[in-house]
Amino acid sequence: MSGQSSPTFGNLDWEVTPYTDLLEHVNSSTIIGAGAASVLVLGAFAGIALLTYMRWWKPLFRDWLTSADAKKIGIMYIALALVMMARGIIEGLVMRAHQATALGALDKAETGLVAPDHFAQLFSTHGTIMIFFVAMPLLIGLINFVLPQQLGARDMAFPVLNQVSLGLTAAGAGLVMVSLLIGDFGTGGWTMYPPYTGLDYSPGEGVDYWLWAILISGVGSTLTGMNFAVTIFKSRAPGMHLMRMPLFCWTSLCVAIMLIYAMPALTVSSAMLALDRYAGFHFFTNASGGNMMNYANIFWMFGHPEVYILILPAFGVFSEISSTYSGKRLYGYTSLVIASMSIAVVSFMVWLHHFFTMGQSAGVNIAFGIATMIIGIPTGVKIYDWMATMWRGRVRITAPVVYLVGFFLLFVIGGLSGIILANPSIDYQVHNTTFLVAHFHNVIIPGVLYGMLAGVHYWFPKAFGFRLDESWGRRTALLFVGGFIFTFMPLYVLGLMGLPRRSPTFQDPDFLPWMYIASFGAVLMLAALFCLLWTFWKSYRHRMSLSVPGGDPWNGSSLEWSTPAPVPEWTFASIPKVQARGDWGETKRAGDPWRAPDSYADIEMPANTAHGLIIAGMAFALGFAMVWHIWWLAALSFFAITAALIWRGMRVIEPRIIPARQVEEEDRRFREYVAGATPITRADEESERNRGVPDCSEFAG
């Protein structure tokens, strides 16, 4: 970025790409920077070429991008998360490789794979991506796919708003991706604490990329929260009382409430920082009355609930799979509901533990420290409840169960380090060290990542009609478990030895062996990612032998297993009348579960629309224009978004009607298939004989 700003191109010029850096200095850091940009560009070209060659543009547009179906939106969220996760994991590997080569001396310039500034961009994008564009889209995607099906609803309460939320999240992700090629990203970590990220200390576009990615995707997440909450309150099937909802719906409700109350805090803190940077405000500047402590407070009022936003859907998944794969009812349903709700509430009362070391009085620290420990109680109860669910069950060791077991054994270690960190007196020592880094990876990877991947494996057949390969699924899970252990256990040790997080270099050679182990772990994580992709590919190739048109491959008990796989757009041929908790299970127990409905009616579904796509494109343009100070484009895209909202608001929009005949025809075909299929017991679950039609006599939960 050079000094002059042009009216047409803002601060953009030809020197913003990493190729300029590469031409100026050729070293491992600039090569990696330019390489990453090239991967982005080549990846985009390859994608375009593939879509063109396969003539997929039209189906992509018609069936996916303009669809308002929550199930498809959910799948698109998860696809976005997986793409971003690939970048996040590779960045993690580069950081671990860097630190393994970063032993230096105080009087010598930093050495190692990448330059300190490049390293700082890596940990900033890694954190931002993993939290906002991997974990969040994974859980929002999974909830979108599963929640309406479990509630007995056909769609979310606001299908098009849902599409807009996805669009805004994708626009934010797009901004972070574009920063690989055009300009730099911020170096202040995923929390972007001022004053370091203020205009004085971080001039340039880096922090702005973060700000606009967060502001835009944050609005999307807030809207998602509202959508989930209204769906749960208003769109449940008749008879689906709150206390009959599957646990996953309960944790979704917690997530919805937390999104609504927590996300605005992030929007506020980011908007205040943006005002500081764009309009000369002094909220968080060093002088003129600014105070960065306010940023820390507001940010973490979002940030702490956020970690429970991430973890609770995983707790929902673990509740479902522990019961299903044990062939047993969920133990302590009421306890689990109370525990989830307590976590959601208490999580708003602990934010200060992220900065025990800011200089407040011991009394304040004691209060927040104890509040933090209190969250451990419902969390612990949940883990015991799942163990009680498996006790005296008949546990099938499928891929989701491997994730579940990895979660059990690793998450409690993360819980232990959480209790340790909750003690202000110890936090004074290990705060800001790699001990902290190890801790939050220890709860987020075994918690969120394992939970979400287990959920993807569990519900995959419902989405695509075929199961995922169990052996490769188990291998992926084991690799993620091993990768976690090797990468992050050494970081606990390094933290106790006093290594600060985000260190581009260090001087103690005793750190090296641990760095090597951690790097090996990062390689395992990458292998796990490939293994995951291979699982998808291999299962796709064997989709015929893995197909489960019967729709109930795991002998489940909640409503979503009563429909065909892949599930039709309208989900239920007729809306079920719920009689009990685990209604589908009770129907199976009563016998003849696949009885056809007495009559079929026309079904109203939301019509396809490009509304979300337009808003996403304009939001991306707005963010990009603001980052580069291209004011005309910013104004234009802002007005375009407003105009699109007004235009849609003024129109009468007819829903799409699916005629009763079509529904009946497809439903009859499904029921005939089920009637003709051979029911299988759980012993054959992983074999080709599993066509999604379970032996109902075996259902005992």
Partner: protein, 317 residues
């Protein structure tokens, strides 16, 4: 189980005395003073108590998997069992009890180890100013200042006041005490003391730019008479006045700052005499000018308040 064993082994390893080269200690698990000693003791206490709720999971999960696996189940099968009042009391009760015990200890140790609490009468007064990427230590009573070296006498409490003249930083001297943030225009403090002679590493733990990884300093706990000798020892001939301070405020690590000051480029300590006793207060005062008021000029003095200039000397290769 192997995880637990691995973690215990790791902590034991981290606690093992530093190896041959390690004259500089950098972990609170090898404490050099009462604060860090208490912190590391509390760490082990918390781990011990929390194990009561964690061990059942680490042992129970593999047992359940083994005993109740579908292929070859051993135990009974009770698929409809979903509630037991006694078990509920245990599941909620035990964690509640453990948290009550832990909370008691938390309260005790947090109150006891409050970094603002003096450890005894007549503490040694030291002031620290965090710069990009070094620390200036000021001994107002002794009239000396150092960069990246903090010498303290064994046995006497130390009261360290902190601020920064750049972005937020966090000072950690792990073998002696925990960390506290240092923020511009504000002061925070750490109280600690050394109970044995030795050298500890101090550092900034809050990322503040590309020199962050080298913002380390030596803390030397000296026997009292040795400390007196250190006070009377040779200095660099420099005085910490406005001009010297402005040079130090540039974005540089110690070695580069020394060459900027015309000294030999090295990581050795920089000891100066103190030009004005109120340097610390002036640096804080820079951030409290009131617009066009009488002290408006203060913001420009002592190196100003904006982004520090880069070092004259490029970071040496």
């Amino acid at each position: 189980m192997f995880l637990l064993a691995g973690m215990t082994a790791a902590i034991a390893l981290a606690m093992a005395p530093a190896s041959a080269h390690g004259v500089v200690e950098d972990s609170f698990l090898q404490p050099m003073g009462p604060v860090a000693a208490e912190q590391s003791k509390h760490l082990l206490r918390v781990i011990g108590i929390t194990m009561i709720v964690i061990l059942p999971v680490l042992i129970g999960v593999p047992l359940i998997l083994w005993r109740y696996r579908y292929r070859k189940p051993r135990g009974a099968y009770s698929p409809e069992w979903e509630y037991s009042e006694k078990l509920e009391y245990a599941l909620w009760g035990v964690p509640v009890l453990i948290v009550i015990v832990l909370a008691g200890w938390l309260w005790h140790s947090t109150a006891k180890l409050d970094p603002y609490q003096q450890l005894g009468p007549d503490p040694l007064q030291v002031q620290a100013i965090g710069l990009d990427w070094k620390w200036v230590f000021i001994y107002p009573e002794q009239g000396i200042a150092t960069v990246d070296e903090l010498a303290i006498p064994v046995g006497r409490p130390v009261q360290l006041m902190l601020t920064t003249d750049t972005v937020m930083q966090s000072m950690l001297i792990a073998p002696l005490t925990g960390q506290i943030y240092a923020m511009p225009g504000m002061s925070t403090q750490l109280n600690f003391s050394a109970s044995r002679a030795g050298t500890a590493e101090g550092e900034n733990t809050q990322f503040n730019g590309s020199g962050f990884g080298r913002q380390k300093f030596k803390v030397r706990a000296l026997d009292p008479d040795e400390f007196d000798r250190w006070l009377d020892g040779p200095d660099s001939g420099l005085t910490l006045d406005e001009a010297t301070y402005a040079t130090l405020r540039r974005q540089s690590v110690l070695a580069d700052a020394k060459s900027d000051l015309g000294l030999e480029r090295s990581t050795g300590p920089l000891v100066m005499s103190l030009g004005a006793r109120d340097v610390f207060d002036r640096v804080i005062g820079k951030y409290h000018r009131t617009g066009n008021g009488e002290n408006a000029a203060d913001a420009e003095a002592w190196g100003g308040i904006g982004l520090p200039a880069p070092a004259k000397q490029e970071s040496g290769q």
